[in-house]
């Protein structure tokens, strides 16, 4: 079992996993080589997360064998797997919001004093040690709920690292990281592989493959397709293996004549909870019909908060004026915002986007229940039919619209959120990281959708941390940094360099 210089630590052989109504994995093979980055790719719903959940002891019921160093093993739970040296960073965050950063990292394994109480000093020391390598500068005594998603992700990574893992599974770890954080993560990964740790790396970003991965395994529709060296597999080939057909044309933006002004935001501010500082400071911008306005900025620049303020989520803490058509408003809650024709597709689908217990149809209908009222009463058949339309249009992988949102793969959940908001038929669409966790094909579909909606006269504002993405879809880009507006660029003047520079704090 030697491949070059490294051996296989962990192996999955003929793994089959059934959910009610779905065969998520069908006799899948997968090898994790020590000291290498083993990438796993596949479309949304291909079974990547499911496979990793089996290898890390989260799902205990499956057919097939898991071999650790050549010996068959069956984990009873995740703690069991962690003891065996396998640790996983899940696609969706799994932190306890009210506990501090350090407490989260050592949850269940807190260092103890001789009296059996928690040894906080030791805990903070160890936590700092790990977090320093990740350049995490926030206070580790603060609850993680105070952190933005990107920073929380760093905490997850620190947690997984704290186990001294021999196999570290990362399920789309960079989906909410900034470029900086990503670079740091890659450095950490390099130092881990140097120590012989086998990394499993799930991603939808093809450029990451060539940057860090050694081997790549492709899954499609729950089946194993191929395993190969990244260096002798061109990206085009990988994509072809993933989708099972030639890739559709790359997205090319059509340009539409920019229409009238739809939204003008004037001096939008957001005070922090204690009221001492401003998270969003005096931001003014305009959005026009048929125009896609991109907002670029690093994590923590106040992009999400800007959207939330406009959408009325922060009530009185948000100030400023919105001019919508000829109305001057400042929504005090999302309901008002929706009434003004605004829709917000939030960054975190699990906490902000979906009611996980509800099925696809009900999630899609939630923001526009009036549409499915018939004589004041909910009309189930209509509700399902409208959801069915979206399910087809976006190819939401599910056995029916009655399937719970919880049971969908990450990317497909995102499509449900998107559907929900498109159903409200907004004039102004705010998209916060709309392609987070979305596979290549679906990503292009979303770009095309944005383009199409703009063509129909919608005013669209998109946040993205991916520079190539935002440059591809936007007509105009504004940059934010530390809560302020720092630049504006029209399509003719787009350049990675200029935009990035404008979004960095001046030193």
């Amino acid at each position: 079992m030697i491949n070059g210089t490294s051996h296989i630590i962990l192996q999955a052989q003929g793994i089959t996993k059934r959910w009610p109504g779905v065969l998520a994995l069908d006799s899948v093979y997968f090898n994790v080589y020590a000291g290498q980055v083993n990438a796993v790719v596949g479309e949304n719903g291909a079974g990547k997360s499911t496979l990793m959940n089996i290898l890390s002891g989260t799902y205990t019921e499956y057919e097939g064998r898991v071999l650790l160093n050549g010996e068959e093993i069956r984990f009873k739970n995740t703690a069991d797997a962690q003891r065996a040296g396998i640790s996983m960073i899940h696609q969706e965050l799994n932190l306890v919001p009210c506990l501090s950063v350090a407490e989260n990292i050592f949850l269940g394994r807190e260092p103890q004093t001789p009296f059996g109480t928690i040894d906080y000093r030791e805990m903070y020391r160890q936590a700092e040690e790990i977090l320093d390598c990740l350049q995490f500068t926030e206070d580790i005594r603060r609850p993680v709920s105070d952190l933005r998603v990107g920073r929380q992700q760093v905490v997850e990574i620190a947690k997984a690292l704290s186990f001294d893992a021999r196999v570290l599974i990362m399920d789309e770890p960079t989906s909410s990281l900034s470029e900086n954080e990503t670079t740091l993560l890659f450095k950490t990964i390099a130092s881990l592989t140097a120590k012989g740790v086998g990394i499993v790396y799930i991603t939808h970003k093809m450029d990451e493959l060539t940057q860090i991965a050694n081997r790549v395994t492709v899954l499609r529709d729950g089946r194993f397709v191929s395993e190969s060296e990244v260096s002798d597999t061109p990206v085009e080939e990988i994509i072809r293996l993933m989708v099972g057909r030639e890739r559709k044309d790359l997205f090319v933006k059509r340009s539409h004549p920019v229409g009238e002004k739809r939204l003008e935001a004037r001096n939008v501010c957001l005070r922090s909870e204690e009221g001492s500082k401003h998270i969003v400071k005096d931001i003014s911008f305009e959005a026009h019909a048929s125009e896609v306005l991109g907002i670029y900025g690093l994590m923590g620049a106040g992009r999400t908060e800007l959207f939330e303020t406009i959408f009325g989520l922060h009530g009185r803490r948000g100030t400023g004026t919105l001019l919508i058509g000829d109305r001057r408003v400042m929504p005090r809650n999302p309901k008002e915002a929706i009434g003004h024709g605004i829709a917000l597709i939030p960054e975190d689908r699990k906490t902000d986007g979906l009611v996980l217990e509800m099925d696809i149809a009900r999630n899609i209908a939630l923001a526009s229940l009036d549409r499915v009222l018939k004589g004041g009463v909910l009309h189930f058949r209509g509700e399902r039919a409208q959801a069915e339309g979206f399910r087809r249009k976006f190819d939401i992988k599910s056995h029916s619209v009655r399937q719970k949102a919880q049971e969908l793969s990450g990317g497909n959940q995102q499509k449900v959120v998107l559907s929900k908001w498109l159903l409200t038929d907004p004039d102004i669409l705010l998209l916060d990281e709309p392609t987070r966790g979305i596979d290549i094909n679906a990503k292009n579909e979303i770009y095309r959708l944005i383009d199409h909606l703009a063509g129909k006269g919608m005013a669209i504002v998109v946040i993205s941390s991916e520079l190539p993405e935002i440059m591809a879809v936007s007509d105009r880009i504004i940059t934010l940094c530390e809560g302020r507006l720092t630049g504006e660029f029209f399509r003719e003047e787009f350049s990675e360099e200029k935009i990035l520079k404008a979004s960095l704090p001046e030193k």
Partner: protein
Amino acid sequence: MIPIALKPKFNASFLQHLFALALMVLAMTLLSDKFATADNLFNVMRQISVNLCISVGMTLVILTGGIDLSVGSILAFSGAIAAGLVEWGIGITGIDAFIGFTFFGVVLAALIAGGALGWFNGLMITRFKVPPFVATLAMLTMARGFTMLYTGGFPITGLGYTFAFVGTGWWLGIPMPVWVSIGVIALFTFFMRKTKTGRYIYAVGGNEKATRLSGVNVRRVKMVVYTLAGVLSAVAGILVTARLDSAQPNAGMGYELDSIAAVVIGGTSLNGGKGSIIGTVIGALIIGVLNNGLVLLNVSPFWQQVIKGMVILLAVIIEKAGRKKD
């Protein structure tokens, strides 16, 4: 992803509950020859109808992720109001006269009284951010206090023919209180399944933030829920008062426990978002049959309490075990 079969339409845990209930009825029938008599069965149903009304309200509250401990006290308060209005009407200060009430006037007033207290619960919870446990605990004692103040600590008796009919009468061979609870169940099953507000109640319990972001007025939903729980406690209060032909100041004490038990046994999650009225109905039936059976079997009241606690635990454990299989 290959579809194998469509998901079963029937909720497996619902059938499980139904099965548990059937088992229990069977056991009681075998153990006691008094159980399966018409007299006793109607008696059980009459008793259960009170808990059913409360538990339907409790289900709504728990579905939003809250809890209502004040149902028993609100029951007593609205029962007392009903009896008081029949007996005394509302005195007009200064002159020696009072306003009398018709039957429907009395019922309406009692429902409004219960609803008002529930509304106050909701106000504390949504406006002043008092946790539901605390807000309704406070109401538990306040409403009891109001009841004592209003009645002077004595029962109010003699409510007249119409009330006696509601409490002990029959219609089409079925006791009136049972009709009332059937009405409540039907109405609220419809409400929860088919109306916007019903849907929002599930959504708020499932994910409050996502629901708010979807443009739902979460505060209003919670106000509605606590108010309805108050109204339903008042319905139960009227039933109890009518059956005894008297309002007891300490009526309904501890009723919150039986109703929470019914909701939990019925499979509604205390975290909210998951559960159903019909589940609660079965939960209430299980509790009711158990209460009755233990009395028939001459189990000492002390043991009755122990056994009831064990059944609650067992029900939840079985439920969890059933769900754990991925």
